[in-house]
């Protein structure tokens, strides 16, 4: 499966059409510690303390600090950070597998924090399904029964849920393995089962908690392609947690980069790589092959007179590496064309500047 990464980037240029965000998170906190003490931390004078100092002062650990973001319908929202940055806690807060300490949280405009147990179960059963790093499969059940597990919990009749599960098993490419037990499968296959189980409930959102970290690099790549394909086919909203920058850049429409419980930067892969918010992010993205992430949009300069109607035309979402190919073939600058309008041009100097990591003043001019 050769997949163009850009193909799945559902034109982020036109998001305004989206109505209410799927998830809307505002000022969310999760503080671990004795309940009474933990509840006091958000908004107090301790809120700004570094983790060690906070623990010293209150005995609590803040895993998520004052996090706000929206997840738009149909996008792949990646939360990325190193271990200990609070990203796994954050994703569990979304369905209240971990109870947030403070803040607001709504799904499709409905307040999640106000839900009672039954409503919350409803949310978990039908609206948001999760895929786990360690799969969380029931070792005593067959693949088919594992996939059907979510439906079983919903109370779907046996025949119906097995039929549905069989369909999902086929969808994730596990045909013929229905009667195996998880212990007999490879890691990648197990995660496919986990994915099929999540899909079986036909949820509105898929939550992935570092789903591929435990897999071998090759398998991981394959699974990423699988997710990309699913997203491409079904356009389902996804929240994807990872500590792997390459994975984040590969899959994410938007990326929230977390450190010590906070979001330090939220933006498209291009924004993160192209204009890091601070030194931490810069350090983080230093080794990223920029030409594969940045698009011509950030490398172009205004068209000089006459340039606007000659040379090969490129879409704004074309990566630099593809532009280099086009430019090299044509020998001259290429136009960046969006809906018939020429936004600017890229020439070899601008493209090389991206590869070399030099600032692209021209681009900034355009942006300005």
């Amino acid at each position: 499966m050769t997949h163009d990464v850009n193909a799945m980037t559902h034109d982020p240029a036109a998001p305004e059409a989206a109505d209410t965000p799927v998830f809307s998170v505002g000022g969310l906190w999760k503080v671990f510690g004795p309940k009474a003490a933990a509840a006091k931390v958000p908004g107090s004078e301790h809120a700004e303390l570094a983790p060690a100092a906070l623990r010293e002062a209150t005995g609590c650990t803040a895993a998520v600090r004052d996090v706000s973001f929206d997840v738009r319908k149909g996008e792949v929202f990646v939360v990325m950070g190193l271990s200990g940055s609070g990203k796994s806690t954050l994703v569990r807060c979304l369905t209240r597998l971990i109870e947030p300490t403070a803040g607001t949280l709504s799904i499709d405009g409905e307040d999640v924090l106000a839900m009672d147990a039954a409503r919350l179960r409803e949310l978990r059963r039908h609206r948001a399904a999760m895929v786990f790093q360690h799969f969380g499969l029931l070792p005593h059940r067959t693949v088919l029964d594992n996939v059907a597990y979510g439906l079983e919990i919903q109370g779907v009749s046996r025949a119906e849920r097995r039929a549905k599960a069989a369909e999902m098993v086929a969808k994730v490419g596990l045909d013929g393995l229905e009667d195996r037990r998880p212990g007999q499968l490879s890691g990648g296959q197990q995660q496919r089962v986990g994915l099929a189980r999540a899909l079986a409930a036909d949820p509105e959102v898929l939550l992935f908690d570092e789903p591929f970290s435990a897999l071998d690099p090759l398998i991981r790549r394959e699974m990423q392609d699988e997710v990309a394909r699913l997203h491409h086919d079904e356009g389902r909203t996804m929240v994807f947690i990872t500590h792997d920058l390459a994975e984040a850049l590969r899959l994410g429409d938007r990326i929230a980069l977390m450190r010590d419980g906070r979001i330090v930067q939220l933006g498209t892969p291009e924004e993160i790589v192209g204009s890091p918010a601070d030194d931490y992010v810069r350090e983080f993205v230093r080794d990223v092959p920029r030409e594969q992430v940045l698009t011509v949009r950030s490398a172009m300069r205004p068209a000089a007179p006459g340039e606007a109607d000659q040379g090969p035309a490129l879409a704004p979402a074309t990566t630099v590496v593809e532009a280099i190919e086009a430019v090299a073939r044509s020998g001259g600058p290429a136009r960046v064309v969006d809906r018939g309008r020429c936004l600017g041009v890229v020439d070899d100097a601008a493209l090389l500047a991206v590869v070399a990591g030099l600032p692209a003043p021209a681009a900034r001019e355009v942006a300005a």
Binding site: P51, T61, T89, L97, H126, I153
Partner: protein
């Protein structure tokens, strides 16, 4: 060991749940006790160990990663390092305690013994309570409407099972057992099973075997039900767990003998008392393992289940219980083994069956007859253990996908097979009926009593005394008594009571935590308050001496055995037999060899505790990280260097566990040693049972509990505070 003492104990770490943990300190110390206790039961709870991790809270969100990363070797070395500087710090407060105790000691001067002013004489009230129970047993509503029904139910159940077993006849029972074993574990176990039942018949023990089976079936079913319920409560609610744990811990170290008297008092001699004593004795391991299994269920799976919107009950039945199924089965197995050993001991209170045959044979000093009844017990134990084991493995095993391909075939295959099994067994039973041999034909029995007795007589005749160079067993016995037991007892009894309290506290503190020390000191003080200071110290001296011998022998054998897999294979059946043979059987040859007194009691205790020590130690030694061994070899270490510098230090948790097991097991037998002149607490318990003397028996029983607690606590492997 499997038979007499439940072998699984979970870690009792008070800070286990609810508290958050700082990132980076995910506490994953594999609990040596956990694993070792289970290995003592020849099982592997490694899965349990792996999943031991605080899971309610996950401050850094990356718990699962760390869980796998840091599950390494036990932090023995770290513990030792901690230990040395902590020891000094911990002993400081102890000095303060000493300063407080000394004036108290001066207030009650006199000999070393516990001051009479501080003791409570319970004989009056206890005696009256005993009389009241006996007088009101047939009139008081509590007995008429509660205990009476309990007792009735037990009798009805046992009778029903017994009737069915007798009606099935020996053909039916043997066939059913063989078929079940075959379906669960294959042809080999099936043959073993059939051979075992045939042996019971051949030894002329068919009817007693059926009686014991009937009693066991009822008792173990009840124990499993009760244990599972308790375990469920403890596994799901940390609060219940905290409340239940000390109780289960205590019951774990209680010698079986101590359970009998209260049961006899309420229910009188007979099957109901025996069944209930067995239930009480066999339920704790089940409860413990159930709780352990539920608590240690893979957190990831549970979370996945919750994330799919499962209700609490759905989560319990679809995930938590199935995940704990190995532990549950292990629990059933343990319940069976402990139940079997108790069913034998309960013959003292009229359990009937095989145990009674052993007990009666002992009265006429007939080792051969005792053995004839003992062998079926061993066979039953082996067969039941292996079958339960196989069932457990089958659950864990991966099925053959080709065979399970078709849904219909799978379902019908299973039912069909089961139906066939039952039908075949019924056919065998009917065949037996037609041939009119529902009881084992008498002409088919093989008397083994006489040759065995001749062998025992020869042994005692030739070993008792006058053996050149090493001296006879009588001389050993005299020397052991004179040089080891007597000085130890004199020393303990002469030592001022408060120094003993301090000593117990200090040892417990060095080994464990403040909590441990407190329990130890309180337990010892309780012995004094009960007014059985002297006999308890007498018992203690026997325990200490026997434990020392057990450990020396056990470690030596284990070090030898750990070197070769072949030696281990040869050793296994011997250990199995030693562990499951009722202690009663070898009391008499021991008396014949060592005379009456404390020495034979100690010898019997050594024989009984040795297998567990050998087993745990061997396993600990052979499981030492091969990388470490390889490193040592590559550095040119000699075999003894490897042993002393690598194997033993790394196997430290197993060795500590072996010590703990040795202490608990030795205590159990030293008590039974009351039957062969061991005196002290064991004698008091025997006297209490024999005379229906609640005051003596119950007080001695309580003292045994305290002694057990004390010994258990001061030998518990160190735990981080």
């Amino acid at each position: 060991m499997t038979a007499a003492t439940p072998s699984v104990r979970d870690p009792r770490d008070p800070s286990d749940s609810g508290r958050p943990q700082a990132p980076g300190t995910g506490r994953t110390r594999p609990d040596a006790r956990d694993e070792g206790r289970a290995t003592a039961g020849r099982r592997d709870t490694r899965e349990a160990r792996d999943t031991r991790e605080a899971r309610d809270t996950r401050p850094d969100g990356d718990g699962p990663t760390r869980r796998h990363a840091s599950t390494g070797r036990p932090a023995a070395a770290r513990a030792t390092a901690l230990f040395s500087h902590r020891a000094a710090r911990k002993l400081l407060p102890l000095a303060v305690a000493a300063a407080l105790l000394v004036p108290l000691a001066l207030a009650f001067p006199g000999a070393g013994s516990w001051p009479a002013q501080l003791a409570v004489d319970l004989s009056g009230p206890l005696g009256r309570a005993g009389d009241w129970i006996i007088d009101h047993r047939d009139s008081h509503p509590l007995f008429l409407y509660f205990f009476g029904h309990v007792s009735n139910a037990v009798v009805i159940c046992v009778r029903a099972v017994y009737t069915v077993l007798l009606a099935a006849g020996w053909l039916g029972v043997t066939a059913l057992a063989g078929l079940v074993a075959w379906r669960l574990a294959g042809i080999r176990l099936a043959l073993t099973c059939v051979a075992a039942f045939a042996a019971c018949g051949l030894l002329g023990m068919w009817v007693p075997t059926m009686q014991t089976l009937a009693l066991m079936a009822v008792a173990v079913t009840a124990a499993v039900a009760v244990g599972a319920l308790l375990g469920l409560a403890a596994g799901l609610s940390p609060r219940t767990d905290r409340a239940l744990r000390p109780v289960l811990d205590t019951m774990q170290v209680l010698p079986a003998f101590a359970y009998l008297l209260p049961m006899v008092l309420v229910f009188g001699i007979g099957v109901p008392a025996a069944v209930l004593a067995t239930v009480v004795y066999a339920a704790p391991p089940m409860a413990r393992l159930t709780a352990l299994g539920l608590r240690d269920a893979d957190a990831g799976v549970l979370e996945a289940s919750a994330s799919l919107g499962a209700t609490g009950r759905q989560r319990l039945f679809s995930a938590r219980l199935p995940l704990a199924r190995r532990q549950l089965l292990l629990g059933v197995n343990q319940a069976i083994m402990t139940g079997l050993s108790m069913a034998v001991i309960a013959s003292v209170i009229g359990a009937g069956g095989l145990g009674d045959r052993v007990y009666q044979a002992l009265a006429s000093v007939d080792v051969g007859a005792a053995l004839a009844a003992g062998i079926p017990i061993v066979l039953l134990a082996v067969v039941l253990d292996r079958t339960a084991d196989a069932a457990g493995n089958r659950l864990g095993a991966t099925p053959d996908p080709a065979r399970e391909k078709h849904l219909l075939r799978r379902v019908f295959g299973g039912w069909y097979g089961r139906l066939l099994t039952v039908l075949a067994a019924v056919a065998a039973a009917v065949a037996g009926r037609i041939a009119d041999t529902s009881l084992w034909p008498e002409s088919w029995t093989v008397p083994i009593a006489e040759p065995v007795n001749r062998a025992v007589a020869w042994m005692t005749a030739h070993l008792y005394s006058g053996v050149p160079v090493v001296g006879g067993t009588a001389d050993w016995s005299a020397r052991f008594t004179g040089w080891v037991l007597d000085p130890l007892r004199t020393g303990l009894q002469a030592a001022p009571w408060w120094t003993l309290l301090l000593l117990a506290g200090a040892v417990a503190l060095l080994v464990g935590t403040w909590r441990t020390a407190l329990t130890a000191v309180l337990a010892l003080a309780a012995i004094g308050v009960l007014g059985v200071w002297e006999p308890s110290l007498d018992t203690l001296s026997q325990v200490l001496a026997a434990v020392a011998v057990t450990l020396v022998l056990g470690f030596a054998i284990a070090v030898g055995a750990a070197r070769s897999a072949r030696a281990q294979r040869l050793l296994r059946p011997v250990l199995d037999v030693c562990q499951t043979m009722p202690q009663f059987v070898y009391l008499i040859p021991v008396v014949a060899l060592f005379g009456v007194g404390r020495a034979p009691a100690a010898a019997a205790a050594v024989v009984y505790a040795l297998p567990a020590v050998v087993r745990i130690t061997t396993q600990g030694l052979s499981e030492v990280n091969p990388a470490a061994m390889e490193a040592a070899r590559s550095l040119g270490a000699t075999r003894s260097q490897q042993l002393w510098q690598v194997q033993l230090p790394l196997a430290r948790p197993a060795l500590l566990l072996a010590v703990n097991q040795a202490v608990v097991l030795v205590l159990a037998v030293v008590i039974i040693g009351g039957l062969v002149g061991g005196g002290a607490l064991g004698y008091d318990v025997v006297l209490g049972l024999a005379q229906g003397d609640l005051a003596t028996g119950l007080v001695a029983g309580a003292a045994i509990v305290c002694l057990g607690l004390l010994l258990d606590r001061v030998t518990q492997p160190a735990k981080e505070a």
